[in-house]
């Protein structure tokens, strides 16, 4: 029985052979980019907060998993499209997390200003 990694490796080899025979190649570069975007999102806690970012990061992860199955099955064009969607979702998740962080910083700074104006300790 083939494991996920074995299936992916077999798929990549099949894709390479397919390329030699005139078929499309496995979107390995796009896969790397999508996975890097997801890791970047996790590093800034986009998988946790805000909830909308977590949802899009989850969608991205699901599309990457789907793409890997397509690659294993030699369906490289489908994999390419799934990875495009994954990339778009991951980038949106990262942007949402950064927006939330900036919003919290701005809110905290405004509270500090009000406290300074009122003569209260920060």
């Amino acid at each position: 029985m083939m494991t996920g990694n074995t299936r992916l490796a077999a798929g990549l080899w099949a894709a390479l052979l397919g390329l030699g025979c005139g078929g499309s190649s496995a979107p390995s570069e796009r896969l790397v980019l999508a996975e890097a975007a997801i890791r970047g999102g996790i590093e800034i806690n986009a998988n946790v907060n805000p909830p909308r970012a977590a949802l899009h990061l989850q969608l991205a992860q699901e599309q990457v998993e789907k793409a890997k199955r397509y690659i294993s099955d030699g369906m490289n064009e489908r994999a390419e499209l799934a990875l495009r969607q994954a990339q778009a979702d991951a980038e949106l998740a990262i942007a949402l997390a950064r927006a939330e962080e900036m919003k919290q910083k701005a809110t905290a700074a405004k509270i500090k200003v009000e406290r300074l104006k009122a003569g209260r300790p920060l």
């Binding site: 899009h56 489908r78 495009r84 979702d89 927006a99 919003k103 104006k117």
Partner: protein, 292 residues
């Protein structure tokens, strides 16, 4: 070919808005656009008409390019998987523009608040510095005034020592004026002699202005002749007599106290008559101002 149902997409499109277009397409025999494309168009327009055009023009352009690609794919093949995916990506790009515009707006608010904080803190620092300088000046003035007062008091004591022929000493407990017992009282008595009253009058004149800033203690001392108990009582009575006279001559009662020491603190040898004479004494201690 479709890759997914897109059931989790948001926001929900306004089908009413696109209904005439859909009907037109149906009339032409063209498949209606995928929901992702409809949503992408709506999201892009929302971004274009909102703050994004001002705050994130480059990102808005990127979203437009993405939407154009989806539109072209739809024209090429309305039902292709590529059309679906490009529409999906165009929708995410439009949503991304709005989020990036929000981020820039928050960043601007943060910068404004930071500048305001810096300004308020600068004002606070300037105010604190000004208060510090004022306090330093006040302390310097107070120190000068205190030093001048101390100099005046010292001069007054020296004049007193010369004019009244008294011993005036500076000790850690304060300025000590020593009055020999034989000058003040008859032997074994505690009524002040006339000479004592004369000297104490001069002392009262010197001490009265200083009593505002100093505590004054009158101590009575005896030699060792007689019993300790009788000497203790005698020293208390003599100290009180001196104190009462000083108060009568103007020294504030709240600033002065008396205490009898008895024979406990001799300054000379009680075996000789000269030593005993030295031990019979009254000391007036003017305490330093900080010991009040």
């Amino acid at each position: 070919m479709k890759l997914g149902s897109g059931a989790r997409m948001s926001p929900r499109p306004s089908y009413t808005l696109w209904l005439p277009v859909l009907c037109g397409l149906a009339a032409c025999g063209m498949s209606p656009p995928p929901r992702q494309l409809i949503d992408a168009r709506a999201a892009y327009n929302e971004a274009r008409l909102g703050k994004a055009a001002e705050l994130a023009p480059a990102e808005l352009h990127t979203a437009k390019v993405s939407l154009n690609a989806a539109e072209q794919a739809y024209l090429d093949d309305p039902e292709s998987a590529e059309t679906y995916t490009l529409s999906y990506v165009a929708l995410r790009a439009a949503e991304l523009v709005k989020v990036q515009a929000d981020t820039k707006r928050y960043k601007a608010e943060l910068d404004d608040a930071q500048r305001e904080m810096d300004r308020l803190e600068s004002d606070e620092i300037a105010r604190t510095r000004s208060e510090l300088i004022r306090t330093k000046h006040e302390l310097a003035s107070e120190r000068q005034a205190r030093e001048a007062a101390e100099a005046r008091e010292h001069d007054a004591m020296q004049r007193l020592a010369r004019s009244a022929a008294l011993s005036v000493k500076e000790e850690p407990r304060g300025t000590v004026i020593v009055l020999p017992g034989n000058v003040l009282f008859a032997s074994g008595q505690y009524e002040l002699t006339s000479e004592a009253q004369h000297k104490l009058g001069m002392i009262a004149d010197t001490l009265t202005p200083q009593a505002r800033n100093h505590d004054i203690v009158v101590e009575g001392h005896t030699d060792s002749k007689g019993t300790p108990a009788s000497n203790q009582l005698l020293s208390e009575n003599r100290a009180r007599a001196v104190m009462d006279y000083l108060i009568a001559r103007g020294v504030p009662a709240g600033s002065i106290t008396s205490v009898g020491i008895g024979q406990a603190r001799p300054v000379s040898d009680n075996a000789t008559s000269e030593g005993r004479a030295n031990n019979r004494r009254v000391e007036i201690i003017v305490k330093p101002a900080e010991m009040r």
